[in-house]
C-alpha cells in the first residue's frame, strides 16, 4: 500500500466563463488551477494558504473529485481518480471527506442535526447509527440534546461543528477542511484545533487544512503550500517557510496578520 495519500501531478482545471459567453457557441474558459504538483504523505497535516481567489477551494474540490480536472493526474492511495466516473467514486467517497467553508449552505435545513450526521453513515452502510452520532457530537463538543435541533436553531459556530461531526463520524482516511475555524469563536476554535490534533495523532488521520489564519496554520500544520493565482509559489516545512518566506505574497500574508495586541504597528 502506498504511503502517499495523495500524489498530484500537473493538475489543471478550468471553468467556462459564463459572463463572457457569446450568444451562440461555447463560453471561453478561465484556468483556475495552472499545473499543480505535490504529494501528501499519510498522517501529514498540510496547510494550504493563499490570497482570496487563488484557487484553494477549487483545488480542494478537485482533490475530492467534486470537480473533474481538465489535465494532469490525482492519485488517491495509489489509485488514479482523475477522471473516475461517479459510480466508481462512490465507494471511495467515505475515505475522503470535506468540511466546508459555509456551514449553513451545506446543511439541509429540513433535517435535524442527528439525521444530518446519520445520513452519510447510513449511505455507507454503517450500523449502530445512534451511538456513532452521539460519539461524533461528543467529539466536537456539542451537547447530546443538539441531535434534535434544526440547523436554523443553531448559531453559526454550532453549525460548523455539526459539519465536522458529520465528516469524522465516517472515520475517513483524509479530511479536507476548508476554512472551518474562521467562523468559530476562539474557545470552540481552540477546542476544534486540539481535537484535530488529537484525531491526527490517534486515528492517523491525514489532513489538508485551508485557512487564512496563519497563526492556526503555523500551529497545526507540518507542511504548507502557498498558492497564488492558481500556482504553487512556495512549499515546504511550515516552520521554515514562516521563518524565511521566499515568495513576496507569503511575506505579504505574514505582514498583514493582525496580532491580538493594540500596540502592533499594522496600518
Amino acid at each position: 500500500m502506498s504511503d502517499m495519500i495523495y500524489r498530484i501531478r500537473d493538475l489543471r482545471l478550468d471553468f467556462p466563463d459564463m459572463t463572457r459567453k457569446p450568444l451562440f457557441g461555447p463560453a471561453p474558459r478561465i484556468e483556475v488551477l495552472k499545473g499543480l504538483g505535490f504529494d501528501i504523505p499519510r498522517g501529514d497535516v498540510v496547510g494550504i494558504v493563499g490570497s482570496s481567489g487563488s484557487g484553494k477551494s477549487t483545488l480542494g474540490r478537485a482533490m475530492l473529485r467534486l470537480l473533474e480536472p481538465s489535465h494532469g493526474s490525482i492519485l488517491f492511495e495509489g489509485r488514479d481518480i482523475t477522471h473516475l466516473p461517479e459510480s466508481a467514486l462512490r465507494p471511495l467517497r467515505r475515505k475522503f471527506q470535506m468540511i466546508f467553508q459555509d456551514p449553513m449552505s451545506s446543511l439541509n435545513p429540513r433535517l435535524t442535526v442527528g439525521t444530518i450526521i446519520a445520513g452519510p453513515l447510513r449511505l455507507h452502510g454503517f450500523d449502530d447509527l445512534g451511538r456513532r452520532v452521539g460519539r461524533a457530537l461528543d467529539h466536537v463538543g456539542l451537547p447530546e440534546a443538539m441531535r434534535h435541533r434544526y440547523p436554523h436553531e443553531l448559531s453559526g459556530g454550532q453549525r460548523q461543528r455539526v459539519g465536522i461531526a458529520r465528516a469524522i463520524a465516517l472515520e475517513p482516511d483524509f479530511i479536507l477542511a476548508d476554512e472551518i475555524v474562521s467562523g468559530l469563536d476562539v474557545s470552540s476554535q481552540a477546542q476544534v484545533l486540539n481535537l484535530l490534533e488529537t484525531l491526527v495523532r490517534e486515528l492517523g488521520l491525514t489532513l489538508a487544512f485551508i485557512s487564512h489564519d496563519l497563526s492556526v496554520i503555523r500551529r497545526l500544520c507540518k507542511r504548507v503550500i502557498v498558492l497564488h493565482r492558481g500556482e504553487i509559489v512556495e512549499t515546504g516545512d511550515t516552520a521554515a517557510v514562516f521563518r524565511a518566506p521566499k515568495a513576496a505574497c507569503t511575506r505579504e500574508l505574514i505582514e498583514a496578520i493582525p496580532l491580538p495586541d493594540p500596540n502592533q504597528t499594522w496600518a
Partner: protein, 289 residues
C-alpha cells in the same frame, strides 16, 4: 452627545421561555467602532437582528428599548420602522453564501438597495456599484456584476456584501463577522477601507467578531457577551491591558498567537464557564422576583 444607537435593558426570549438576550445595554456613537465578542451562541447575531428588525419568528422582544437616531423602534408602526431602518442602518451578514440569492446575478443584488431604498436611477446605481466593487478590491468588477454567487470565491462574496452595505451610505452598520472568509492581506485592506469610510461618514459601527487580533486593530470600545448577558463593557486599551472579567481573560488565552505557535491553547476553562453560568442564574432569579 447621545449615541446614534442605544440599546437599553433588551430582553429577548425564545417563545417566552428561554432567555436569549438578558437585559442588554449597548451604545454606539457616530464615528465609534464598537466590538462585540463572545462565544458561539452568545447572542451576538441576535443583537444585530434585533436592531435591524429581522429577528427570527420564534424570538420575541420581551422588554427594553432600541433607539436609532433617537427614535424608539419598538414604538413605531412596522412600516415606518422598516423605512427608518432601511434608510439609516445596514447589515453585513454573517453567512456570505446564503445572504446572496443564488438564482440572481450579483449586479442587481447590489443596485436593488440603491434603487428601492434611495430611489436612484438604475444607470447611476450601476456605476456606483462598480465603484464600490472596485473599492473593496474586486479586480474585475464588470465580470463580477454579471456572475452568479456560486461562480465566486467565498472572499469575493463577502466583499460584495460589504460593498452593498456601504452602498446606501447608512449611518449605522452592523458588521457580523465581515472578514472571516478573507485572507489577511485583503482583510487588512478591507478593515482599512471600512475604517476610512466609517471615519469619513462618521458611521457608527457595531463590529461582531471572534478575532481579538481584528478587535485590537479596528475597535475603540468592546462589549463582551456570554449567554446573552453583557459581562464587560470596556475600552480596547483596558481589555488588552487588564481584562475586567475572568471570561475575557480566558478568551485571550484561547486565541492562537502567531508569535507563539507552540504555546498551549486553552479553551475557556470549565471553572470560568461555571462562574459565568452562575451569573446567568443569578440574573434569571433576580428577574423572576
Amino acid at each position: 452627545m447621545s449615541a446614534f444607537l442605544t440599546i437599553e435593558g433588551l430582553n429577548v426570549s425564545l417563545s417566552g421561555v428561554l432567555p436569549i438576550l438578558r437585559s442588554v445595554d449597548l451604545a454606539v456613537h457616530a464615528g465609534e467602532v464598537r466590538g462585540l465578542v463572545g462565544e458561539s451562541g452568545a447572542g451576538k447575531s441576535m443583537i444585530g437582528k434585533a436592531i435591524l428588525g429581522t429577528l427570527p419568528r420564534a424570538l420575541r422582544i420581551e422588554s427594553g428599548r432600541i433607539l436609532l437616531d433617537g427614535e424608539d423602534l419598538q414604538r413605531m408602526r412596522p412600516r415606518d420602522r422598516r423605512r427608518l431602518i432601511g434608510a439609516k442602518a445596514a447589515l453585513i451578514p454573517q453567512d456570505p453564501l446564503t445572504a446572496l440569492n443564488p438564482a440572481r446575478r450579483i449586479g442587481p443584488q447590489i443596485t436593488d438597495r440603491l434603487v428601492d431604498i434611495l430611489g436612484w436611477r438604475r444607470r447611476a446605481a450601476l456605476s456606483r456599484a462598480l465603484e464600490l466593487l472596485d473599492e473593496v478590491r474586486i479586480t474585475d468588477p464588470e465580470r463580477v456584476m454579471r456572475a452568479y454567487p456560486h461562480e465566486l470565491s467565498g472572499g469575493m462574496r463577502q466583499r460584495i456584501l460589504i460593498a452593498s452595505a456601504f452602498a446606501a451610505e447608512p449611518r449605522l452598520i452592523v458588521a457580523d463577522e465581515p472578514t472571516t472568509a478573507l485572507d489577511v492581506t485583503v482583510q487588512k485592506q478591507i478593515l482599512r477601507l471600512i475604517r476610512d469610510m466609517q471615519a469619513r461618514h462618521g458611521t457608527a459601527l457595531l463590529f461582531v467578531t471572534h478575532d481579538l487580533g481584528v478587535v485590537s486593530k479596528i475597535c475603540q470600545t468592546l462589549t463582551v457577551l456570554y449567554g446573552g448577558l453583557v459581562l464587560e463593557d470596556t475600552t480596547i486599551e483596558e481589555f488588552f491591558a487588564a481584562p475586567g472579567h475572568p471570561y475575557s481573560a480566558a478568551l485571550l488565552g484561547a486565541t492562537p498567537k502567531y508569535t507563539d505557535p507552540h504555546g498551549s491553547l486553552t479553551p475557556v476553562p470549565q471553572s470560568v464557564i461555571d462562574a459565568a453560568n452562575a451569573q446567568l442564574d443569578a440574573f434569571d432569579r433576580a428577574r423572576r422576583q
